[in-house]
């Protein structure tokens, strides 16, 4: 397992290097002189010259690339053009909010998708099964930004149960506050988190329920499950220890991919609910043409995606030793 982990870590290096090169190349796709484009036509020549210098645009591109890679390796993502702070600082202040909503959504997706898929497989052809399939099809087809607006309309505008926009205290602060005798803070944080997290979760819950159902149906046909049933093992035990454990393997695998979708969905969800995370920041940065900030955020999104996929691969390999042979 250690060997496998080291191999996987080593494979991450060229991928990340490639990602950095692509993010660097993005600025070369900007039509015209990027410094003029970013500052606008009204910018003074001095300001443009200064930006060109600070973005290294006055140097040949191999030098630019070398310096960019070296800077990124040191954790220096440059300075935001309009925010008066480093890209790293801007990202660090927004990252926790995005992680919070993405993890909450993943949790909801698993808590909804898993039991629904299992139930549908166990009661094949029943109304629950048909209902789960309809839920899955609608959930996959419903755009996250529309669902977000519908949830906001029902639960914030019509029923007035939950806040429409904004974020309460960060969840870990709120937890400490609750432990310190102020449970109201935690309640307020969760109320703010509820709508964005549910909006973001539905699509993944739908995908997961469909996957768990198929995977469970396959496993229930396998010989060792039928053998366990044949020798009189209790039904609950057959389902939990024999079927579910093996049916979950592809589900763990897909969590990594879903995390990518969740990060992308977070961009839209955060914009709707005014959730102060990286998604909202990248939308503002693109609108302002704050390109160093856009590059930094894209890089961080790709890094998170790569790390989650690595973690998922390691967990899968720990659960199923056959996977370790594939690298």
């Amino acid at each position: 397992m250690l060997r496998y982990t080291l191999k996987r870590l080593l494979l991450l290096v060229p991928l990340l290097l490639g990602v950095v090169v692509v993010v660097f190349a993005l600025m070369r796709l900007v039509p015209g002189d990027p410094a003029v484009v970013f500052l606008g036509q009204d910018a003074t020549p001095e300001a443009v010259a200064q930006l060109r210098k600070s973005l290294d645009l006055d140097k040949p591109w191999p030098v630019q690339l070398g310096r960019y890679i070296a800077n990124v390796a040191r954790g220096d993502l440059g300075d935001s053009i309009f925010r008066g702070e480093s890209v790293m600082a801007a990202i660090a202040s927004r990252l926790p909010a995005t992680v919070e909503v993405a993890v909450a959504a993943l949790l909801i997706a698993v808590l909804v998708g898993l039991p629904l898929g299992v139930l549908a497989a166990l009661r094949r052809g029943s109304p629950i099964d048909v209902g789960s399939m309809v839920f899955a099809q609608l959930g996959v087809s419903m755009p996250v930004f529309w669902l977000g607006i519908l949830l906001m309309f029902w639960f914030a505008v019509e029923l007035n149960w939950l806040p429409a926009v904004g974020r309460g205290e960060s969840l870990h602060h709120a937890l400490f506050a609750a432990l310190g005798g102020r449970p109201g803070v935690l309640g307020e944080s969760l109320r703010h988190l509820a709508l964005p997290a549910f909006a973001l979760a539905l699509n993944s819950a739908a995908v997961m329920s469909r996957l768990v159902r198929t995977s469970m149906l396959d496993v229930l046909q396998v010989e060792y499950v039928r053998a366990a049933r044949g020798k009189g093992v209790a039904n609950r035990r057959v389902i939990v220890t024999h079927a579910l454990r093996n049916a979950l393997l592809p589900v763990v695998n897909v969590i990594g991919l879903r995390f990518g979708a969740l990060l992308g969905g977070a961009v839209l969800t955060e914009s709707i609910f005014g959730w102060p995370g990286l998604g909202q920041l990248v939308v503002t940065a693109i609108s302002q043409r704050d390109f160093p900030l856009v590059q930094g955020i894209v890089l961080v999104f790709a890094l998170m995606f790569a790390l989650v996929n690595l973690a998922v691969d390691l967990v899968t390999a720990a659960l199923d030793p056959r996977m370790r042979l594939e690298v």
Partner: protein, 273 residues
């Protein structure tokens, strides 16, 4: 056909949306940009089936013309993605070796970014507009085609008839086009159908954020985003465009699923059971 209800229902929904897009100028009655300030935010009436927006523009006309943008970008970006992906997949799977390795590492690189984030990054660099949105969406989708076609080409290029063709001196190009390519058509069609749904969501999402096709061109995503400003009193302004997006995506998803079951009955049995 009746054994594949998804194919029929999905096909009908897709056909309805394509017809709406093609026939928009004749179905729409009003010009999508024609303002009627006396009838602002009117709600559904006999004259305006889906109501009007805050400038009195007919929502039905905006939906019909919006379908043109979404469906056109959906089809064209998927066609581009399928073309690039199929060529890359064929070359990688057939020639193997260093070419396969290089091409697949490029695929991995594209897959290293969360999909919407990659599309956003490209639109951020290239700027908004229909062509750039199409390029961004195609850049996200082509990897799926490359991977599937490569795996088919790997298997097909080992088949006896391919080996025999090679032995009698058929050129690589001829073998690729006449013998390997035909096996990929079914799976590529399925992927493409599902891909149009994804492309429609991606295009609407980018338009929703303001980075897609720019107003006053009526797009579903932007109309939906704009409707949010009137959510409290006129929720239908956001509800209607969302419904159009969802029905379109649902149609392509159902049609794609149905097509897969129809083309590969054995796979259908195991996924439906």
């Amino acid at each position: 056909m009746t054994r594949h209800p998804s194919l029929v229902i999905g096909g009908l929904l897709v056909a309805a949306m394509v017809l709406l897009a093609v026939l928009a100028p004749w179905i729409a009655v009003y010009d999508p940009e024609q303002m009627d300030m006396a009838n602002r935010l009117s709600g559904p009436t006999a004259a305006h089936w889906l109501g009007t927006d805050n400038f009195g523009r007919d929502l039905w006309a905006r939906m019909a013309f919006g379908a043109r943008i979404s469906v056109a970008i959906g089809f064209l970006s998927v066609a581009a993605a399928a073309l690039v992906g199929t060529v890359v997949g064929l070359l990688a799977g057939y020639y193997r070796g260093w070419l396969d390795n290089t091409l697949m590492r490029i695929v991995d690189l594209f897959l290293g970014f969360p999909p919407i984030v990659l599309a956003l990054a490209l639109v951020a660099a290239l700027g908004p507009g229909a062509l750039n949105v199409g390029v961004a969406v195609a850049a996200v989708l082509w990897t799926q085609f490359a991977r599937v076609v490569r795996s088919i080409a790997l298997v097909e290029s080992e088949r006896e008839y391919v080996v025999a063709s090679r032995a009698v001196g058929a050129s690589h190009g001829r073998i690729l086009v006449r013998q390997v390519l035909p096996s990929t058509i079914g799976p590529v069609l399925v992927l493409a159908t599902l891909g149009v749904g994804t492309a429609v969501v991606a295009e609407s999402g980018l338009s929703f954020l303001g980075f897609g096709v720019q107003p006053p061109t009526p797009t579903w995503g932007w109309t939906l985003a704009y409707g949010m400003r009137f959510l409290r009193a006129h929720a239908w302004l956001s509800t209607v465009p969302g419904l159009f997006i969802m029905v379109t995506v649902l149609g392509f998803n159902l049609f794609g699923d149905g097509l897969r079951d129809w083309l590969d009955p054995r796979g259908a049995v195991s996924s439906k059971q």
